[in-house]
């Protein structure tokens, strides 16, 4: 018998409402309606943490060893209470005691070791590629020991965020990706309540290890619908928490209930223009720098992103969250401010001429033109590309905006068969991860071979060297020094042209609960997906 009470609460919502039913704008006091799970387009009853296409609610049920705040890199003990590097190839994590799985069975270090070894057994589950680095994971007592093939300190973040599954359930599952999991067993604050393809609820786990901190009894996840209707629903106050791009959020959301309706859109990654560095003239640093000056990032941030985001630092760091990593010697926090004149000058200096009709010519005398690929339907990116198109026209470069389906976009990027493309990177807890995947030449495979990282195919042995150093070091100061060097390289050599910080969209209502993360208290990104909710739900307090 599961969750009769929460079913009722959801049920009463419907009964008390207008005949439409979906208009569940005023759910019971202790519940929150969250507009985040989109379905495809309806829900399937799967809370398997390893399966693609599982429910967003899955991450409210399974927990990681540590909570890593990607905004500032702060690590909070979760199922693990503490970790130590015995040397740069051995990590020991102490596991929390007194935690129960929500089926009543006790949680232990054995579950942790089982989880990691399970990923080894089923490589399809190892989406972070942990076992390319790890050599063994063993449990003894309340400690779990991770041994590495090579020193790779930043892998800690991947280990920290891996969710732990119960051995007593999963040891019998032999095809984990295909396992439907309607009643998942996890350690997290919530368990599955009521489920229909259009809406499901999560109810509070009464035996949760920090149950006293969790005040929201029920979570309701209605199907999002398309962007259009989702925005209308959010605007009309049907949801308490959502993650949508809303134009003119002040007017369309906040003003509908100014006392309670809040939003916070912190930066979550860098959106950049990637140019294929294996091709001329993109392989010319000066050309790239000129372009960086010639693109009006300010206008993009304002027009394409409604001014919700900031222009990105060319260092690739996400500021201000990662400002402690920023090399103070880099001017203007690493932003190439828009300067058409300077761009033209630089191009001329580098030997690019224009013809009589104002077209910029490459070294062989052909007019320069290239296309920028943007995934179909990513409308803000398409707009970004359109602005770049008109910016570069000023330089005499003709740009064609191509909008292939995501698959085609992604495959031309990974095989290096593109000219220009918009690309996101970064947003992880440690800048190392961002830099490694952006510029490590190990990933810069020849054109035609598929790679998921360094798709612009940047190669610089000195940068590789620094990255290797950084990877091996457990020392904060060394890491800082290495970071400065990489920053300088990325800033000067412009492997990709950073445009703006992709935002984490988050709108919420403080009508029923307060204590949401904010710019002044960024204890977690405000996202209702991934691991932040675990943190957020221990902070929310009922409004008195």
């Amino acid at each position: 018998g599961c969750g009769q009470s929460s079913n009722n609460s959801a049920g009463s919502t419907a009964a008390s409402n207008s005949p439409g039913g979906t208009v569940s704008s005023t759910p019971a006091k202790s519940s929150l309606t969250i507009g985040v799970d989109n379905g495809s387009p309806t829900f399937q009853d799967n809370f398997n943490p390893f399966a693609p296409g599982n429910r967003i609610g899955t991450s409210y049920i399974y927990e990681p060893l540590f909570f890593v705040n990607n905004i500032n890199g702060k690590v909070t003990p979760w199922l693990g209470t503490n970790y130590t590097w015995q040397n740069n190839k051995t990590l020991v994590v102490t596991v929390r005691s007194g935690v129960q799985w929500n089926d009543g069975k006790p949680f232990s270090a054995a579950d942790v070791a089982f989880t990691f070894n399970y990923l080894k057994k089923y490589p399809a589950l190892d989406s972070q590629g942990l076992w390319q680095v790890l050599s063994s994971v063993t449990a003894s007592g309340n400690k779990v020991t991770f041994k590495f093939k090579n020193p790779n300190v930043p892998t800690f973040y991947s280990i920290a965020s891996t969710v732990i599954v119960p051995k007593h359930i999963w040891s019998t599952i032999t095809d984990p990706t295909k396992q439907m999991m309607p009643n998942p067993v996890g350690t997290g604050p919530y368990m599955v309540g009521n489920f229909t393809p259009e809406q499901y609820t999560l109810k509070k786990n009464p035996t949760y290890w920090q149950a006293d901190k969790v005040n929201v009894q029920t979570l309701v996840f209605p199907v999002l619908g398309n962007n259009q209707t989702a925005a209308l629903k959010l605007s009309s106050g049907q949801w308490d928490w959502a993650t949508l791009f809303l134009p003119n959020v002040q007017k369309t959301f906040v003003s509908k209930d100014p006392q309670y309706n809040k939003y916070w859109f912190p930066a979550g990654g860098v959106v950049s223009l990637a140019l294929n560095l294996t091709k001329a003239p993109f392989n010319d640093v000066q050309f790239r720098q000129a372009l960086a000056y010639g693109i009006n990032k300010q206008e993009i941030a304002k027009q394409a992103e409604d001014g919700y985001v900031n222009v990105a630092s060319q260092t690739g760091l996400i500021l201000p969250g990662q400002s402690k990593w920023l090399d103070p010697s880099i001017p203007n926090k690493g932003v190439y401010s828009y300067n058409l004149q300077k761009a033209k000058q630089m191009l001329a200096q580098a030997g690019y001429k224009t013809n009589s009709s104002g077209q910029l010519l490459d070294k062989s005398g052909k007019p320069i033109s290239f296309s920028i690929e943007v995934p179909n339907g990513w409308s803000d990116w398409i707009q970004t590309a359109q602005i770049i198109q008109s910016n570069l026209k000023q330089l005499g470069i003709s740009v064609n905006v191509a909008t292939p389906q995501y698959g085609a976009y992604s495959s031309s990027l990974s095989t290096g068969q593109f000219e220009g493309a918009l690309m996101g990177f970064g947003g992880q807890a440690s800048p190392f991860q961002a830099y490694n995947s952006l510029v490590n030449s190990q990933f810069a495979l020849p054109v035609g071979q598929s790679t998921s990282q360094n798709q612009e195919r940047f190669k610089d042995p000195s940068v590789d060297q620094v990255l290797a150093n950084w990877q091996q070091s457990t020392n904060q100061a060394t890491q800082q020094k290495d970071a400065y060097q990489v920053e300088q390289a990325v800033f000067n050599q412009v492997p990709v042209i950073a445009l703006f910080y992709g935002a984490t969209w988050s709108e919420f209502s403080t009508k029923k609960f307060t204590g949401w993360p904010s710019a002044s208290d960024p204890y977690a990104p405000p996202a209702p997906y991934g691991q932040p909710p675990l943190m957020i739900f221990t902070h929310l307090q009922p409004r008195s």
Binding site: L232, P247, Q303, D306, I382, T403, Q405
Partner: protein, 285 residues
């Protein structure tokens, strides 16, 4: 024995039809809009410097887009692309339909059987889903690709009617007479048969254009078109991506849709008139 009813020219017959007259007037307006839109437009279509997401004002009759473009200007420019796509696809559709219809209708036999089968199959394959399927796989979505998809999925209907018409006409004694006069097949088709099915061709052309205009809008709306061109379809796409309704910018959405509807229905109305050429029973009293 004299055929006492004085014949009117087809154009007169069409024009005499009240509905067709309304349609012709509307269509003419749109053609003028497409031709001279850029001259009439108050602003440049690439100008993105206006205050974004505004409702209709004196300066911006239909408001501005979320990225600060003038909606009215876009509407005028959009007429070009929408009508270009519509008319070119319509033209290609009719061309293909004519060729296939002619080949099938004129040669008959096995050729006809096979082509008819292909047409019948194309007819039952649902158009828009097929377009989506193809568009989903095509890597690039220029105007050319859209026109290609539209033509590929649209020719069968015209092909079938034109084939039937061709079949009827090529069985007419005057075609046989032309053969006795020593005319070659080419001339028979173009000089003897084609002029007599002109009204069918035009009606089918308008039908195909209507279909293409609507289908283009549908594809663009689904984001399967080319959002960087300005057509009425992309306007609605951007309007809905820019949450126009949420911002109360109803004009941004209503205007292009209304234009599509008016353009499409103008052609439907004209076809009322054209139908009466081929079928006098449909003539108004």
């Amino acid at each position: 024995m004299t055929d006492n009813v004085k014949q009117q020219s087809p154009i007169q017959i069409v024009w005499r039809n009240k509905k067709a007259r309304i349609g012709i007037v509307i269509l003419t307006l749109f053609v003028l809009m497409a031709l001279f839109g850029p001259l009439l437009a108050p602003y440049s279509v690439t100008n993105t410097s206006f205050a974004p997401a505004q409702g209709p004002t004196a300066a911006h009759w239909l408001g501005t887009t979320q990225s600060g473009q003038d909606v009215f200007t876009q509407l005028l420019y959009g007429a070009r692309v929408s009508m270009f796509v519509g008319f070119v696809s319509g033209g290609i559709v009719i061309l293909v339909a004519l060729v296939v219809g002619f080949v099938a209708g004129y040669f008959g036999g096995m050729v006809d059987d096979i082509l008819s089968l292909v047409m019948n199959i194309m007819l039952v394959l649902p158009g828009l889903p097929l377009m989506i399927l193809i568009a989903a796989y095509i890597p690039h979505h220029g105007i050319g690709e859209i026109i290609f998809v539209m033509s590929l999925t649209g020719w069968a209907f015209g092909g079938r009617t034109l084939r039937a018409q061709m079949l009827t006409l090529s069985r007419q004694d005057y075609v046989l007479s032309a053969r006795f006069a020593g005319e070659n097949p080419f001339r028979i088709i173009f000089r003897e048969i084609l002029p007599n099915m002109l009204s069918y061709i035009i009606a089918n052309f308008f039908g195909a254009v209507t279909g293409a205009v609507l289908a283009e809008a549908g594809l663009e709306f689904l984001g399967l078109g080319n959002p960087s061109i300005t057509s009425w379809g992309t306007m609605i796409y951007w309007a809905q991506n820019g949450d126009a309704l949420l911002n109360g910018q109803w004009a941004w959405i209503i205007a292009p849709g209304l234009c599509i509807a008016l353009l499409a229905s103008s052609m439907t109305l004209i076809n009322f008139g054209i139908d009466t050429v081929a079928n006098p029973r449909l003539q108004e009293d």
